[in-house]
């Protein structure tokens, strides 16, 4: 029997379309012959695929549904065949994975065949759009608040500095004044002292500590600190502002190194001078957490246009934590 005739016979057997005698012959053969049984199973694959792809004639389709699809196992096979055809179509439609660009992969991922993914994408974009807009708005608002707070802080610091200078002036005048004038100056000094206290209190509650140091023009000798100050940092303070006022600004930039009492480097900054009420100053902003209670040495070097470094200041700072 030719292969085509044989296949046709098997197909007709599977469709329940063989006369009883032929059917028994086919059955006897596949029950006894393993290879023939495999041929029958392959024919079963073929007829299932033909049914799934709509390639059966109306008569064969009717026979298939009547005589073949009457067991759970065979119905299950038809469902799996449908999945297999869809799988092949989806993967065949897309070029080989390693030849596909990321954009093509993205397009494939959100194809019409995947409505759930499309909905997920649209929902995700909407959430990102609304969430992103809200976050942007919040960032702008918080930045604005921060800028306002910093401006207010700076104004208060300037005011404190001004009052301290006034106090120093009054002290000097007091030394030189007559008794009547001295009484008047005493009152003024008391008023100023109260102002300073009030302003310092405000600064403390705004969690910023400030100290002012003066950097003398000309070089210094390392190991001979120009000044020693004490900074008292409240527990709530977040940052410490060190303002180094320059008597003359002779350098393009300044290198500062802060060492703790063990000689270990706490931080290093490279900064240019800025304009302040006192003229030109170097301003260091140090997180309060970097300054535990103890002794520190601040070294300031000026860097020339020729990139030469020269020591211009050295200060001892004692930090006290409240």
């Amino acid at each position: 029997m030719s292969a085509i005739k044989q296949e046709d016979r098997l197909i007709r057997y599977l469709l329940g379309d063989l006369p009883a005698q032929d059917r028994e012959q086919v059955e006897a053969r596949y029950l006894e012959d393993e290879d023939f049984f495999t041929e029958l199973q392959v024919a079963e694959d073929e007829i299932i695929d033909a049914y799934v792809n709509g390639r059966l004639t109306a008569r064969n389709r009717a026979l298939f549904e009547k005589n073949f699809l009457n067991s759970d196992r065979r119905r299950e096979r038809v469902h799996s065949a449908r999945a297999l055809m869809t799988f092949a179509r989806r993967h065949r439609a897309a070029p080989a994975r390693d030849q596909v660009s990321p954009w093509q992969r993205a397009r494939e991922f959100f194809r019409v065949d995947y409505p759930l993914r499309q909905w997920a994408l649209v929902s995700g974009l909407l959430v990102a759009l609304v969430g992103g807009g809200w976050l942007w708005f919040e960032v702008v608002r918080l930045r604005s608040q921060l800028a306002d707070a910093q401006a207010a802080q700076s104004r208060r610091l300037e005011e404190v500095n001004q009052r301290l200078m006034d106090l120093a002036r009054v002290n000097q005048e007091l030394k030189e004044a007559s008794s009547a004038e001295r009484e008047k100056l005493e009152q003024e000094r008391e008023q100023l002292r109260q102002d300073v206290e009030r302003l310092e209190q405000q600064v403390s509650t705004n969690t910023l500590v400030s100290a002012v140091l003066e950097v003398e023009p000309g070089g210094i000798t390392r190991g001979a600190p120009q000044k020693q100050i004490t900074i008292s940092i409240p527990a709530a303070a977040k940052r410490v502002r060190l303002q180094l006022d320059l008597k003359s600004d002779d350098y393009t930039r300044y290198e500062t190194v802060l060492l703790n009492d063990l000689g270990q480097e706490v931080r290093r900054d490279s900064i240019t001078s800025t304009k302040t009420a006192k003229g030109r100053s170097i301003i260091l902003r140090i997180p309060a957490q970097d300054l535990p209670a103890g002794g520190y040495r601040l070294l300031v070097d000026g860097v020339t246009e020729q990139n030469e470094t020269r020591g211009v200041g050295e200060f001892l700072i004692r930090v006290v934590r409240k």
């Binding site: 059955e27 495999t38 699809l69 009457n70 469902h79 799996s80 799988f87």
Partner: protein, 214 residues
Amino acid sequence: MVDRVTYKKDWKLTQEALDKFLSCLSPDPDARGAEYLKIYQRFYYFFERNNVADPDRLVDISIDRAARMIMAGEEVRNPAAYLTGIARNVLREYWKSPEMRVEGLDGDLPAGRTPAGLPPPSEEEKIELERRLDCLERCAKTLPEAERQHVIDYYYEEKRAKINRRKQIAEELGISQGALRVRMHRIRERLETCITKCLQEHSEAEKHFERIPT
């Protein structure tokens, strides 16, 4: 007439009878298990194809009968042919028994169950297909890449190019087209087994989550 297809009341399959039956299948003790499974699969198919509602029960009855006859001294040279004769008798008894309520098709092929056919695809069926496809994607990943690509090429339905493509795959593998069909059938069998297992796991997981109070 037999009330229900069964075997002799006083006889039960013993280990000795089973061993004798298995020794008829192959002289090599290590090959007997595999031979038994192959025979079982063919006879299951036979009963299923003849619209028996519970094919495995009738396979068991056929094997028990064969084992009983072998124990009684019957000489069996070709166990598959011998079992075929027994299976046909068991099937005839099944058709005559009261458990067969549906008349044969056109007086020719008996029907054990009402033919169901595939219902028109519903939304639920589409979801089911997607679930099955997810499983298939997972199962296909266990295949070697070349084999996976052959599955895609082989089953991609494109009328004109299909024959040439299959020919090309056979040439690539250096086998005949008939051998290719068998090879693809074996891969397909593996995939279908994997899909069934995967769907069962899905179903068990769903049941588990349904039990969790919300």
